[in-house]
Symmetry: C2
Subunit: 681 residues, 2 copies
């Protein structure tokens, strides 16, 4: 490519981004203008096939500074993805293909970014996934899985703690094929970063075990950027950061100031840019045919590479029929037939165990039949019980602690990073089912990543133990109260709180089967008996009647550890002449998806319904008339004493059940499922 | 102190912690045993007065690895705070003074810790507070404010991203009087940290601008620790970290393993420890009188120092009557008389403005009358509008960007760190009112710190702008949905969503007056008209009838930007023959605290009530029979189009109001305030 054409192409990227933001009259032109040379240098050497954006071994590109999305849409357009100039013109408009931040459901976009620090952490997950699959499936002569993970990030991403967590882990794990570009433009929304961010980012990344390269003239020196990429690829046991000194809004009259960060350029500014760079100032969204032609060569090379890859994979499937079939199945996004038979089932004769332990048993069984299961824990492995027997840790081989084919990740005390890395793992494809453990209360540290999983429809699984005051002595700093109300209020999240072994298996069944919905599994520290009347099938509906009283005068709806207590309470009420049914409702999201008829059979008209859950009551009115819950913080004491103190005992529930029956006596009562209308879903 | 007595004292600390955990049969003995020498070296040179644990210029001590609380209780006992041996024996028992993690309401405990990374970040806030007050009130010869902030932290704290945020800022700000001790014991719950945490912590802290000192034999070399403390004090423009290589569970048969981290020592292990160290193996909780005597000297010196300080402060008040009176007032925790008159009020003649702008106006007014107001923003200052005119940035003087008497903190893109630093600022005392701004959706990044503010009753203020889909084009990654439901479900949080200028002033009034409850102020990006019928006084009740219809057949309860839309809807309904009242309910927490009579007057029996808020509906059934909300993610488009798309328009609300009226026609209807019983509060 001539350097003249190269410069023209780079300025085309800049101006398309400027025009895109300008047309929307909203968005962020500055970073695209500064990073255009790096984008050009990177994308012209990437393995990508716009005709098949899901080719498993494509290079991954993550725009962690997601507000610079006009750059990404521009690249997708120029390289031949299904983004037209018209799509660019619809930037940030209702129902367009080009929303204000990258959204993973769109073609060519790997992960949803915008909330700062998430993308670079997703990239760590994508790189782990590549390494794990490469070390699992590749054979001599069959480099089936072999791609780089590239990421752009800015100062904002580096200020966020989540990036610290993920980058520290990436260094520890020695992810040599992760290459990140630090857009060091020294400008944030508040102005020059000298006011708030003066750390030495390179030194910090080195302290994590990264290699750091620098290009000090990245506005203009494309060759230096390309050379740095080549050098980064040689670093095979360390992630690399290429620090690019850039000028935000390069070329603009306001370049190098905060004003080009998040506002469209003024007309006269756009004009002078186009004139300066030899573009027609009266024409917007212009691309020379030579520029299209050049970039289309990259796409063609990618398409050819995929063809060769397809042939290689066919050969592989003949030579390694078992592994080949397995990988082929995974690429189709299918689970192994009959995998669910591995899930344990229980009868009341089985002994009482904590649901964290039931989870461990389930994981142990399914890990054997699901090679796509990749799990870990934020350092609480012996408490979360998330590591199955004989699991291999995902570790750099030279540590002697595991290898990069391992499927158990030691996340360290890094919940937020873990959440984003789990998202990245699942976003890689190949049906990866990623889970991560911590205490339920500390899922909150990672909740912004859970939210993004929900928004971008990534079915990760949070194994969240120590799910209530039932954890006892650690006290209120560790006892979740608002946590389930919070997660249930996030659209598109399953929040399972199983009551026994069968319900725990049901939770795993639905969580693993899910293709678009993440799950949180809230599990006890304390023992739970195996219930009469539970089954995997029934619990898989999200809610079901576990104790059916004839002519019930009251229904208790409960979850998790409160189901057995409610069953005991129902017996007390029965003895008092109040026939009481008990509904176990381990997951509201799944229950909501059942037929109206079924739901109405569980929560019928005419009977008062009381919900019982030893956490915040918010949200329970959807399924009950009255709520018994804990709208205060817990306390530090042995668990049994706490349940007594707060009256989450058979007696305490029965007392409230009776009050409920008396309160509604003689009143016409509709099921809470009846509503004149429903919220917007 | 003889080295023999010193050793005896240190072993006494170790054994008291071991016995405390042993008696509870629950807790963490390992870190106390490893850190006892550092605790001894530190506390014997600290400025503390057990007789007045709230002396303003005491040295602060934060145990960021809060699980090691048995160490802290032991120290508090030995140094003469109001913790008896009996209290130690009640460790982790119901209603004891010694819960499982440090809780700030207990004597001598500065901040609530346990959730990792929070404490060290609180310490940054405590150190900022000290510097800010020192630079505000001290005069030559009057070193009124002059203390160090000390902090213990472990590997877990350093793995958490929050510590990265806070420590980076501490380095930037040059907090020379912050001295942290890194308990580098190489053990986490999962085992040796080689499996998950191999970064160079010292180098990382240096990259933030810290000074790092090391003591490689911190199990035994008390002198080296003392020397390091002395050296750290000489570093006046950098925070210092003293890295202590220690042995977790020092002396135990299982020392240096994960098994001593979180489980009591076995009886035979305790026995050998006591024998080895010359204690009676049959005696628990033993303290030699010489040890008590020695530590009591520190307390005596502290009491004397406070006496001298009191005399100095009296002299100061004479010499600097204005500043003296101001500081005296602040030390009493009182606000200036009549300060609330500074809050702006509005009439419908005033123009429509966004509530983020109304917040800016309010802050500008109260900053002048409240020297205790210390604010900032997580880099979004021009969007959050949190910086009042003429504010001085809190910056190291040598930067030329401000000084350490400044009251505006450039937090950078560090929401979680900001939250914990705000908590630390307020925990310092002197009535500091700390606030911090970000987008409402990114308060979620810092929610674990908000939760700790609620738990430990710290009245910080989150200024949370861009509070709904009303932010428009940035799209669903930035649009809060579950956020208010989440915060309202946390016990002890005010969640204000004001509808206009008077309500914004009411929110500030209550937030600033609060002594025990943190606030989140959810504010719009888009303009809001000044409403007929609003007032600071009425809004200060948390909820009130803003439109009273005669013989109302429907009540609409709304917040924020939906109040005006609901008022318009009420007009449409009125025209359809449905007289409709409108209730503005800007804060549920405050409304809940009103008398039953008042609440019932706002939400009476017999009238159907519909809530309207363009966010998740969870929690609204407490105040309404039907909920109109957004239980899905938003979208990227101009705000007006989004409100139309989701029908949050006068017509959309009126339609649902009519459905509600029809649905309940002829049915007996109780106010949702009626319940047979209430959740545990």
């Amino acid at each position: 490519m001539s350097s003249e054409l190269e410069q023209r192409a780079i300025n085309t990227i800049r101006l398309l981004a400027v025009d895109t933001v300008g047309k929307a009259n909203s968005g962020h032109p500055g970073a695209p203008m500064g990073m255009a040379p790096a984008a050009h240098a990177l994308w012209t050497q990437m393995k990508l096939n716009p005709k098949d954006p899901n080719w498993i071994t494509r290079d991954r590109f993550v725009l962690s500074n997601g507000h610079a999305v006009a750059l990404l849409y521009t690249l997708l357009h120029l390289f031949g993805y299904n983004y037209s100039i018209e799509d660019l013109k619809q930037f940030r408009q209702l129902d367009s293909k080009t929303p204000g931040h990258p959204e993973a459901e769109s073609e060519g976009i790997e992960v949803t970014t915008g909330p700062l620090g998430q993308g670079v952490s997703n990239a760590v997950g994508l790189a782990i996934a590549e390494a794990q699959l490469r070390n699992t499936y590749n054979k001599p002569g069959f480099d089936l899985i072999d791609n780089y993970t590239y990421c752009f990030f800015g100062d904002g991403c580096m200020m966020e703690g989540i990036s610290s967590e993920a980058c520290s882990l990436a260094g520890h794990l020695g992810l040599g094929k992760l290459i990140a570009f630090y857009d060091s433009n020294s400008i944030s929304i508040d102005g020059n970063i000298e006011i708030e961010f003066t750390e030495d980012v390179g030194k910090r990344l080195e302290s994590y075990g990264w290699e750091v390269l620098e290009v000090s003239d990245a506005d203009t020196n494309v060759k230096a950027i390309s050379d740095a990429i080549a050098a980064a690829k040689k670093s095979t046991d360390k992630p690399t950061c290429i620090k690019l000194t850039t000028t935000i809004g390069y070329g603009s009259l306001n370049e190098a100031t905060a004003s080009v960060h998040g506002s469209p350029l003024k007309p006269e500014d756009k004009r002078q840019l186009k004139e300066k760079w030899g573009f027609n100032p009266d024409q917007d969204f212009h691309v020379d045919q030579e520029v299209y032609d050049y970039y289309s060569k990259i796409a063609e090379a990618g398409a050819k590479a995929e063809e060769e890859w397809n042939a290689l994979f066919e050969k592989y499937q003949k030579e390694f029929p078992e592994l080949g079939a397995e990988l082929a199945r995974r690429l189709k996004g299918e689970l192994p037939q009959g995998w669910e038979k591995a899930l344990p089932t229980y009868t009341p004769a089985d002994k009482a165990v904590a649901s964290r332990k039931l989870s461990e048993i389930a994981l142990g069984e399914i890990a054997n039949v699901l090679p796509e299961l990749v799990g870990g824990s934020a350092d609480l492995t012996p408490s979360n019980l998330t590591r199955w027997k004989d699991a291999t840790d995902f570790q750099s081989e030279k540590t002697g602690l595991g290898n990069q084919g391992g499927r158990y990740i030691r996340y360290g005390v890094r919940e937020h990073g873990m959440g984003a890395i789990m998202n990245g793992l699942a976003a890689y494809g190949a049906n990866i089912k990623s889970y991560g453990g911590t205490f339920l209360n500390f899922v909150s540290y990672g909740a912004p990543a859970l939210r993004l999983a929900a928004l971008s429809q990534i079915p990760v699984i949070w194994v969240a133990t120590h799910d209530s005051i039932g954890l006892g002595e650690d006290g209120p700093t560790h006892q979740p109260i608002e946590t389930l109300a919070h997660f249930r209020a996030i659209p598109n999240v399953m929040v399972w709180r199983p009551a026994d072994g069968n319900e725990t298996s049901a939770a795993y069944l639905k969580a693993i089967e899910s293709k678009t919905t993440p799950s949180v599994l809230a599990l006890t520290r304390q023992g739970l008996p195996q219930l009469e009347g539970s089954s995997v099938e029934k619990a898989s509906k999200g809610g079901y009647t576990i104790v059916e009283a004839k002519d019930a005068k009251l229904i208790i709806v409960a979850t998790g550890s409160e189901v057995i207590t409610s069953i005991e309470a129902a017996k007390l009420l029965e003895a008092q002449g109040v026939p009481t049914s008990v509904v176990s409702l381990p997951d509201q999201f799944t229950f909501d998806s059942q037929s109206d008829e079924y739901k109405k059979s569980v929560l019928p008209d005419g009977v008062p319904i009381i919900s019982v859950e030893v956490l915040a009551t918010a949200g329970w009115s959807k399924y009950s008339h009255v709520q018994f819950g804990l709208d205060r913080f817990g306390a530090s004491a042995p668990a049994g004493e706490l349940f007594k103190k707060f009256e989450f005992t058979p007696e305490g529930i029965a007392k409230r059940g009776k009050l409920t029956v008396d309160f509604y006596a003689g009143k016409e009562l509709l099921s809470p499922l009846n509503k004149p209308f429903f919220p917007i879903h």
